[in-house]
Amino acid sequence: MNPAELLGPDLSLAFWPIVIGAIVNSACAMLGCYLVLRRMSLLGDAISHAVLPGIVVAFFFAGRNAFGWLFVGAMVMGLLTTFLVEALRQWGNVPEDSAMGVVFTALFSIGVILLSNWARDVHLDVSCVMYGDMDVATSIMTRGFGFEYPRVFPRMAAALVAVVVFLFLFRKELKVAAFDPALSTSMGFSAGLLHYLLMGMTAVVSVSAFEAIGSVLAVAMLIVPPATAQLLTDRLRTMLILSALVGSLASLLGYMLARHFAVNSAGMMATVAGLIYAAAVLFAPRYGWLARTQRSLALSLRIAGEDVLARLYRNEEASRRQASGSAKTGDAPAAAESIPVMTSPWIHRLARSRLLHGGEVRPAADGGLALTDRGRQTAESLVRSHRLWEAYLVQNFQLPLDHLHEPAERIEHFIGPELQQQLAESLPKTVVDPHGRKIPGSIPTDDRETEPAP
């Protein structure tokens, strides 16, 4: 029984490529996190070239179909590459990327020379012997334990399990070694050994991935998902999980698109991974470009709206004072200038419509706007913050009067209820702001979420 059949005739063919793709992609993606963090992202690329001599030698000693030996030959070369790169880096203090370049070009050249000498008449096409193709590899089926599955499935599953176990077992040490090798050595275990283990694991997994999904996709999976995850999070643990998810998503989407456009699925998965990375660059919640612009837009909208409310409140206050005959001119009309984020006319129109919609203002008789009760409450708390801050400035910084308004105007948007509380406590007896205007006493139950003071 082939589990794929459960999906019905046309989807059954899609089951195994996606599953195996997801498995191998996540194994490579998780290992790739450490490579990217240690600035050795191109190691996968180096290994994909360096395995040639291993294959040629294994081919001539073990013959064509002793496939296991070709795999061992390739893996030996992978391990040799990581060892040589590390040796050059430590003893020859050659920078990492140059060391990788020297090592893999040298090994590849040795491979070509051997191939050109021994294999002139032999039909050994390395690109198809070693670098499997996703579509083909996942459809070579075998039967075991009562149901059919692709021959590469057990090996790839084992590779994934090994990676997960390895990363889990050494998560502390790997984390420290990745970020601060000196510290890890001082803590009693040698970063060197761990580094070799990690590189060895990378060599083994990438070589087995070459055979299953081809070097094109394997190398991509060692770099692109980790880089994408790095954009989305700062914590290593989430980075590993996200990286595996991106790898699996690339497998799913990539295969579907490849089926639709009848193109090579390994190549499409790599391309899709690239698109996911681009999407992360644009839409990442914190560092994404879109998120940043969206957030500053929202900020300026809120500030513009609050300025309108404050002005309306002051106008009401002024008219009330005129009625009671004690007009005071000190409080200059609030300048429309708000925090230098995005200040433009359409912001104000937008802000005004939001206020109308939010029920904080209502159209007044003379075509302007007037505060609703809720609006008045917000405005009152705003003006209270403003005046408390001005009082605080005077008390602590002995600033001349004309220096008070502008900074307070800016700060008022960011003073939440608790800060207002603290300000009030630090100015116990003041009820009137430096300009002699009454500080609105009541502390409204403000629904504005607390704004972090700058």
């Binding site: 914190r286 560092y287 940043r292 957030r295 925090i339 230098p340 984020v341 801050w389 400035l393 910084f397 600033l399 220096h403 502008e406 900074p407 800016r410 700060i411 700058p454």
Partner: protein
């Protein structure tokens, strides 16, 4: 919360007419890295050549301020003008001493090559430094006591010597205003003395020098004007009136170790005058 403070005391401005543009005018500068505000509404105006110390706790944005003024870091808000123009338009008159860690000291260049880089700004495209540029570079090297290290690869220098090389490079720029990012961090006493005497001579030649400094003990002795920074300008003005315990507390918050250092600096100053 900006407190625009003009470094000139009230009577001075009335004396000179305000025709010449201020040497340095930082207006409402705000810098934010990934939504974390690093500098908030900083206002600084320098109209007279001054030896200015920029102090404040770690992460206060001291070197960010310099980088923002020089245009190396994007401003989230506000504006900067040097001698009335932008940093780029006045680039010939600006000297810069970056932090030592910002450079790969294994790079294959000699000490003289590094100092010569200071003259590149005036040379313009394609033209190579000429004999008189080399002579000027050697002169700058001599003024920092590094004359006989000219041909040594920079990787073989000690921390202090590397710092002096950067200093000589800034001198080679023949600038009118210098921005120095912790020139005296982690250097030996001899180098610190050389740097200080250099600052003095620059000041005598009527140049303005802004120095990010971390060692509070030497602040009163080194600088005549202070900018105290902690994400916002907590205090600014002549050292005598600004370097007060109250301002320090406001700038450094309650951290004891820093206050101790400041306290003994104050005691030493009271003893000397």
């Amino acid at each position: 919360m900006s407190t625009p403070v003009s470094s000139t005391t009230q009577n001075e401005t009335s004396g000179t007419s305000r025709s010449a543009p201020p040497i340095l005018d930082i207006h409402d500068v705000t810098v934010a890295y990934h939504e974390r505000p690093v500098l908030w509404d900083v206002d600084i105006t320098l109209t007279e050549p001054r030896l200015v110390g920029i102090i404040g706790p770690n992460g206060a944005g001291k070197s960010t301020l310099i980088k923002a003024v020089l245009g190396l870091v994007p401003l989230a808000g506000g504006s900067v003008s040097i001698f009335g123009g932008t940093a780029h338009s006045q680039r010939r008159r600006i000297g810069y001493v970056p932090q030592r860690e910002s450079v790969d000291w294994d790079f294959p260049v000699s000490v003289l090559d590094v100092v010569l880089m200071g003259t590149y700004g005036r040379l313009g495209w394609f033209r190579r430094p000429r004999a008189d540029d080399v002579a000027w570079a050697r002169e700058c090297l001599a003024s920092v006591g590094m004359a006989d290290y000219a041909d040594r690869q920079i990787g073989q220098l000690s921390g202090g010597q590397q710092q002096r090389t950067f200093l000589a490079r800034a001198l080679a720029q023949r600038a009118d205003i210098y921005f120095m990012d912790e020139p005296m961090a982690g250097v030996d006493a001899a180098t610190e003395r050389v740097v200080f005497s250099l600052l003095q001579s620059l000041r005598k030649e009527g140049k303005t020098v802004l120095v990010v400094h971390h060692d509070l003990r030497t602040v009163p002795q080194y600088f005549e004007h202070l900018l105290m920074l902690n994400m916002r300008l907590t205090a600014a003005g002549p050292t005598d009136s600004t370097f007060t315990a109250d301002n320090l507390r406001k700038t450094y918050g309650g951290r004891l170790d820093v206050l101790e250092a400041a306290a003994d600096a104050l005691r030493r100053r009271q003893k000397s005058d």
